[in-house]
């Protein structure tokens, strides 16, 4: 029952920047998530320089020693400094899923938006093809790809993109479908606008809330998925530090030296949580935006 005048005066413009800023500042989730993510980003960028020891140097102390002043998180079974490995391993844990997710949105997003916007027979056939891909178990697909091409960061990025693209396409197809029938899109069509312009200027800006939330969720999945691959030994080659691989390597000493296992676990968990919190804050904020538009 908001009156017209209130809506007229009290609402800021829905620029994407302002929306994102309010996501970060207006809720507890947003603030905590954003702070954690900034810390992780700094670690990913400068982790190698900050590490007190070389992450691959063995016997920096006695093997499987617990936390001490020299080794904040103790050492692993080869005497490597766990804290240094956590710092140095951040880059591969964050960067590979991030690149994979961006690629996923470029490919899957384009497919989804095209399907949703063009519709008709193109959409009917395309959606069934997507269903076909969705029916394949992700891990199996990646195992096959890595088994045939060998493991490298590029192969991992490509295989994660391959697995997640149909999923992202599905979500964005739905969002695009909803907007494609809006009258402002028809107005653009009746002006004879090029399809590319309609997509980029009329459609995509109105999908930003869906895209942002979906991106955050997808990135979390990708991080956990890549960590799983590393745990299974399908990711980076030892001795390169990687949180997933560290989990695998330390699993035999989980009772005697639990910190070597707990540290990478907590690191992966916190990273996933920070992005998840941001996604929550975003969906709540965008939800509010949409609610306030309805209140008009």
């Amino acid at each position: 029952m908001t009156t017209a005048a209130e809506v007229l005066t009290e609402q800021p413009a829905p620029s994407t920047f302002r929306a994102l800023r309010s996501v970060v500042t207006s809720t507890g989730e947003g603030r905590v998530g954003f702070t954690l993510l900034v810390i992780f980003t700094l670690i990913a960028l400068f982790g190698h320089q900050l590490a007190p020891y070389s992450p691959i140097a063995i016997a920096t102390g006695s093997p499987n020693s617990g936390p001490s002043l020299e080794h904040l998180l103790g050492t692993d079974q080869l005497g490597r400094d766990v804290f240094s490995r956590i710092l140095a391993g951040a880059a591969s844990v964050i960067v590979i899923p991030l690149i994979a997710t961006i690629l996923t949105f470029a490919i899957g997003g384009s497919i989804g938006i095209a399907l949703g916007f063009i519709g008709g027979r193109f959409d009917a056939v395309g959606s069934r093809v997507l269903d076909l891909f969705l029916a394949l178990p992700p891990l199996l697909v990646v195992l096959v790809v890595i088994a045939s091409l060998g493991s490298s960061p590029v192969v991992i990025i490509v295989s994660v993109t391959l697995v997640y693209s149909p999923r992202v396409a599905r979500v964005l197809r739905g969002a695009a479908q909803g907007i494609a029938t809006k009258e402002y899109v028809q107005a653009a069509q009746s002006r004879g606008e090029h399809t590319y312009w309609i997509l980029m200027r009329e459609l995509v800006p109105n999908m930003s809330s869906t895209v942002f939330v979906e991106f955050a969720v997808r990135l979390t999945y990708a991080i956990i998925f890549v960590a799983t691959l590393n745990f299974l030994g399908l990711g980076v080659k030892p001795p390169s530090p990687n949180w997933g691989a560290m989990l695998f390597e330390s699993r035999v000493t989980i009772i005697t030296n639990p910190i070597a296992t707990i540290a990478p676990t907590v690191a992966i968990g916190l990273l996933a949580i920070s992005i998840g919190l941001l996604a929550d804050a975003a969906s709540r904020q965008f939800g509010l935006d949409e609610a306030s538009e309805i209140l008009r």
Binding site: A4, P14, Y184, S190, R191, G192, E193
Partner: protein, 622 residues
């Protein structure tokens, strides 16, 4: 006169983050008398729906009651606990919501919907409930009640759904019936049938009824008493015929002038400005828009004064102004020179619905528009008028026929049309909330056609043109960098109109452009369109279901039904001497105020709603 429900001094507000609550309804008093209908007329945001819900004691979520009482059966409804109210609602006081397709649960059969109040309030079960349900359905003229009982709400047309909602409301023979815009969104013929039914039922059952609507002419036709509400307050209250014949408040008079009439030509007069959104404490809330405004209007908040027997008005000049004479602009000059040939020619157009192939949406439509001429295409929902318009705009594929512009056949899809052709035809949509991209500023929206069609203009020249158009549609320059959701409905529609006119088109396609707007805003948009088209020499194809609007602005008219053309001719000829029975029905169903002391008009012969036109919505919905 015995009053059954009486409201005194109702004042409702919504808490503000700081300071006193925002009052949305102030000092509203009325009495409901058995067998009569009180109308509450107001524009959006006037507080009329708040009034309706409060009248039945319903606590509106988030609101605070700041005073007043509603006396029913010797008790104050506003003091009752919700449990006590539940026993009254549905049995003694019944409510009919605006949109029956939303208010009837889609999962329950009509039988269950009707049985619920009967079981709850009357304790009727089994055969007794069934017999009563059948009688109720028959009383609201639902054909074949036995079959209807087993169907779901979506299997009925919009009008029949509203009939069922009425039957449910009347199930327990309530003493009071509250109707919240019960016919909004229905076709004019269906509306006529529903209000006739309401009128009959109220008289037969001796129910006291309160009806809320934004449609002043509908209320003036239907109601006994009428209260006009503005910014949360009653500004005038009298018998419906009295207000229409002798308005004493400038707002009532302006509203009457703003409502297009089928029975007389001439352009309506809009009320400048926007409806006030909140109650004013220190001055007359209407002062900013009033043409009689004087310094004393702003000095103090006017009280409701009695101007004659049972006629109150809230205006400091209520007695000194006397009866405010109706005003009307002179009829538009409809004599268009035919020598210039045709601008747009539609020959035997056929289109089908995208979803249901085979069902023709437009079935052999031919029409001609001359340069600079305003032509109306009229029909009820499902008549194919909007599909025809979209086909002309290049948004809907043609099945057969052709569309000629300047004597040359146009490609059917907009993307295949030449740039000059695209520029020549512009479209304005019905819903301004949906036709402006929420992520583009007003400037970007109006500028876009210039970028597209006049690439040679410099940035500065484009800006000047945009500003000039803003002035022409009477919007402030300060709105340039606003986003659509920061504008009101009327302002948005002005932006949409500016976008259509900025590239100097030769034909503007208007798809129900005023049906989503308030009456006063609707009138000023019509004025604007009439003025812009005569200044720019633009032709207009005006698609609408509202015949009164047509009379106000179109020189020629085409009437469509079920995809076919029924009648065509000059507006005056069609309105004064319609040749086809269907046109006559449409005209007869348009609400027009009753002459004083006249009885409710005898039922005009209208083909049953189950005819093909009425059935359209049910099949499409199913």
């Amino acid at each position: 006169m015995t009053t059954v429900l009486s409201a005194r001094g109702l004042t409702i507000g919504f808490p503000a983050p700081a300071g006193p609550p925002n009052v949305v309804l102030r000092d509203l008093s009325f009495d409901l008398v058995p067998g009569t209908l009180l109308g509450l007329a107001g524009e959006s945001g006037s507080g009329k729906s708040t009034a309706a819900l409060t009248a039945m004691g319903f606590p509106i979520p988030g609101s605070v009651r700041l005073g007043g009482s509603v006396t029913f059966d010797g008790i104050d409804l506003l003091q009752q606990p919700i449990a006590a109210l539940r026993n009254i609602w549905g049995s003694r006081i019944a409510y009919v919501a605006q949109d029956a397709s939303q208010s009837l649960s889609p999962l329950l059969r009509v039988e269950r919907l009707l049985a619920e109040p009967l079981r709850l309030h009357l304790g009727l079960r089994g055969d007794a409930a069934r017999a009563r349900s059948l009688a109720l359905l028959a009383s609201v003229s639902i054909p074949a009640p036995e079959t209807a009982m087993r169907r779901f709400p979506h299997q009925f047309s919009g009008g029949q759904q509203q009939r069922i909602a009425l039957a449910i409301a009347l199930a327990c023979e309530p003493a009071v019936l509250i109707l919240d815009e019960p016919t909004t969104g229905l076709d004019v013929t269906t509306q006529f049938q529903i209000v006739s039914l309401i009128r009959t039922l109220i008289a037969e059952t001796n129910t006291a009824a309160l009806m809320i609507s934004h449609d002043l002419s509908l209320l003036a036709m239907l109601c006994d008493e009428l209260a006009i509400i503005y910014a949360g307050e009653v500004v005038e209250q009298a018998s419906a015929a009295e207000i229409y014949a002798r308005p004493r408040h400038p707002y009532s008079a302006a509203l009457i002038d703003a409502v297009p009439r089928v029975d007389e030509p001439g352009l309506v007069i809009g009320i400048p400005g926007l409806p006030a959104a909140r109650v004013s404490e220190s001055e007359c809330a209407f002062a900013d828009r009033c043409s009689f405004v004087q310094p004393k209007c702003r000095a103090a908040h006017p009280a409701l004064v009695t101007v004659s027997e049972r006629h109150d008005a809230r205006c400091v000049m209520a007695t000194s102004l006397g009866v405010i004479e109706p005003q009307r602009q002179p009829p538009l000059d409809v004599s268009v020179s035919r020598s210039e040939g045709s601008l747009l020619e539609v020959v035997d157009l056929r289109c089908t619905y995208r979803q249901a192939r085979g069902t023709p949406a437009v079935d052999g439509l031919s029409l001609t528009i001359h340069p600079g001429e305003t032509v109306a295409l009229v029909g009820e929902s499902g008549s194919g008028k909007s599909t025809a318009l979209r086909a002309i705009a290049g948004l809907h594929p043609l099945e057969a026929g052709e569309i000629l512009f300047d004597g040359k056949v146009m490609p059917s899809h907009a993307s295949r049309r030449a740039r000059e052709l695209l520029r020549s035809i512009q479209i304005v949509f019905q819903d301004p909330h949906a036709s402006l991209n929420p992520r583009h500023t007003v400037r970007e929206i109006i500028e876009r056609p210039l970028v597209l069609f006049e690439g040679s203009l410099s940035r500065r020249e484009r800006r000047d043109r945009v500003c000039q158009l803003l002035r022409e549609v009477r919007l402030e320059q300060s709105l340039l960098n606003r986003y659509p959701h920061q504008l009101s409905g009327g302002q948005k529609q002005r932006v949409a109109i500016a976008r259509a006119f900025v590239a100097e088109p030769r034909l503007i396609l208007c798809d129900e452009i005023v049906s989503a707007l308030d009456v006063s805003v609707q009138a000023s948009i019509l004025e604007l369109i009439a003025q812009l088209t005569s200044e720019h020499g633009t032709a207009v194809l005006f698609v609408t279901h509202d015949l009164a609007v047509v009379r106000a602005i179109a020189s020629r008219i085409y009437v469509m039904r079920n995809g076919c053309l029924v009648e065509q001719g000059h507006t005056n000829d069609v309105f004064t001497a319609p040749r086809e029975a269907y046109t006559l029905e449409l005209l007869a169903a348009v609400p027009r105020p009753r002459v004083e002391n006249a009885a409710w008009p005898r039922r005009v012969r209208i083909s049953p709603e189950d005819g093909s036109a009425g059935d359209e919505s049910s099949t499409v919905g199913a």
